[in-house]
C-alpha cells in the first residue's frame, strides 16, 4: 500500500469515489495510510495521486457518510466519500 509517511501517527482511511471520479481515480474504493490531517488537506493528497481530480474546481466530500466542515480532522478507520460537483439541468 502506498502511503504518505511524513512522521506522526498513520491513519488508515477508505476513500470512496463517485460518478466520473471512479474513472479519474481508476478505482471505486482506495485504502490509504496518511497522517492525521483535515479533510481539505486529504483532498489535496488525493489530487496529487490522481491529477484528473484537479479538472474540477472543487469536490464535495463526506466523512463517514455525512457532510460537514472540511477542516475536520480525519481519524483512523474513517471513510471519505468524494463526489464531483455537477451543474447541468
Amino acid at each position: 500500500m502506498q502511503g504518505y509517511h511524513i512522521g506522526g501517527k498513520q491513519m488508515k482511511v477508505h476513500i470512496k469515489y463517485y460518478a466520473k471520479y471512479v474513472e479519474y481515480a481508476g478505482a471505486k474504493i482506495e485504502d490509504l495510510e496518511v497522517e492525521r490531517m483535515s479533510i481539505s488537506d486529504l483532498l489535496e493528497v488525493l489530487k496529487d495521486r490522481h491529477p484528473r481530480l484537479k479538472e474540477e474546481k472543487m469536490s464535495i466530500v463526506a466523512l463517514n457518510g455525512r457532510f460537514g466542515n472540511e477542516k475536520t480532522l480525519i481519524s483512523d478507520g474513517d471513510t471519505i466519500s468524494v463526489f464531483p460537483p455537477v451543474s447541468g439541468g
Binding site: 463517485y18 466520473k20 464535495i60 472540511e70 455537477v86 447541468g88
Partner: protein, 244 residues
C-alpha cells in the same frame, strides 16, 4: 376541482385527500425549463398544483428534444416558456400558469422567488443556484436543488431554518459549469433526478420533509445513496455564527 383525475395519487396514504388540497392550494416557481425544469413543471401541473410560474429566456433547440418534456420539432426556434405555458394549460386547465421570459440572476432572484411558496431548481449553472439559495434564505422560502450530468445527479430539499442550505457543504456557489450538451447527460438520468425532486417538493408542500439529505442517484450502475448534510454553523449563507 375535478377530483377524479387525481384519484390514483390521493389513494396513496402519504398523500390522501388532505394532501391533494395542500398541493392544489400551493404555488411553485420553476427556474429554468430545460431537462429537469420542463419535466418537473409537467409533473407539478399533472399533479394539480394551484399555480406555477416558469422562468427561462432560452429558445427550443433540436439538441433539447431527446430529453426535455413538452417540446416538439415544430417548436424549434420558439421561446421555451411560451411553448411550455401552452402545453401545461393543455395538460391541466385548472392550473394557473405564468411565464417569465427572463434569466434568473442575483438582481432579480428575490422577485422571481416571491411568485411562489416553493422554488424548483431547473437551472444549469452554479451562479443561478447560488442566487436562489441566498434569496430563498432571505425570504425564508423552501426550494429543491437538482443537478445532473452523465448518468448521475443530485437532489436536495432546502428549507430555511430547518435544513442545511446549498452553501453548507461545499457545492460551488459561482460559475457557469459545463452545459449538458457539452458534458453529456442521458435522458433517463434527467427524468429520474426530476422524479426525486418532485417527491421532495410534494413532501415539503405536505410538511413532511425535514431532513435536507443529499440524494445521489446513478441510473447506470444503478445506485441511490442518501447522505445527511447537517447545518454548517460557519456557512456564509445560513450559518448561525453570522446573522440568522
Amino acid at each position: 376541482m375535478d377530483f377524479d383525475r387525481y384519484l390514483s395519487q390521493v389513494a396513496v396514504p402519504e398523500v390522501f385527500p388532505s394532501g391533494q388540497k395542500a398541493i392544489k392550494s400551493s404555488s411553485v416557481v420553476v427556474v429554468g425549463v430545460g431537462g429537469t425544469g420542463s419535466t418537473m413543471a409537467e409533473m407539478m401541473v399533472r399533479m394539480g398544483v394551484g399555480r406555477i410560474t416558469i422562468v427561462d429566456d432560452d429558445i427550443v433547440e433540436s439538441s433539447n428534444l431527446n430529453r426535455q418534456a413538452m417540446y416538439r420539432e415544430s417548436d424549434i426556434g420558439l421561446k421555451k416558456v411560451d411553448v411550455a405555458k401552452s402545453e401545461l394549460l393543455k395538460i391541466n386547465s385548472d392550473v394557473e400558469v405564468e411565464a417569465l421570459d427572463e434569466r434568473l440572476t442575483i438582481y432579480n432572484a428575490e422577485d422571481i422567488i416571491s411568485y411562489g411558496k416553493l422554488t424548483l431548481d431547473g437551472t444549469d449553472n452554479y451562479s443561478a443556484r447560488g442566487a436562489i439559495n441566498e434569496s430563498s434564505f432571505r425570504l425564508k422560502k423552501p426550494w429543491v436543488f437538482t443537478a445532473v450530468e452523465g448518468t448521475f445527479g443530485y437532489a436536495k430539499a432546502i428549507i430555511p431554518g430547518k435544513t442545511s442550505c446549498l452553501s453548507c457543504f461545499g457545492y460551488p456557489q459561482k460559475g457557469e459549469g459545463v452545459s449538458c450538451t457539452i458534458q453529456g447527460v442521458i435522458p433517463s438520468a434527467v427524468r429520474a433526478v426530476s422524479s426525486l425532486a418532485i417527491t421532495l417538493a410534494m413532501k415539503i408542500l405536505l410538511g413532511k420533509e425535514e431532513s435536507g439529505d443529499l440524494i445521489y442517484l446513478d441510473v447506470w450502475k444503478p445506485m441511490l445513496e442518501t447522505l445527511p448534510i447537517p447545518r454548517n454553523d460557519d456557512c456564509t449563507v445560513c450559518g448561525r455564527k453570522g446573522a440568522d
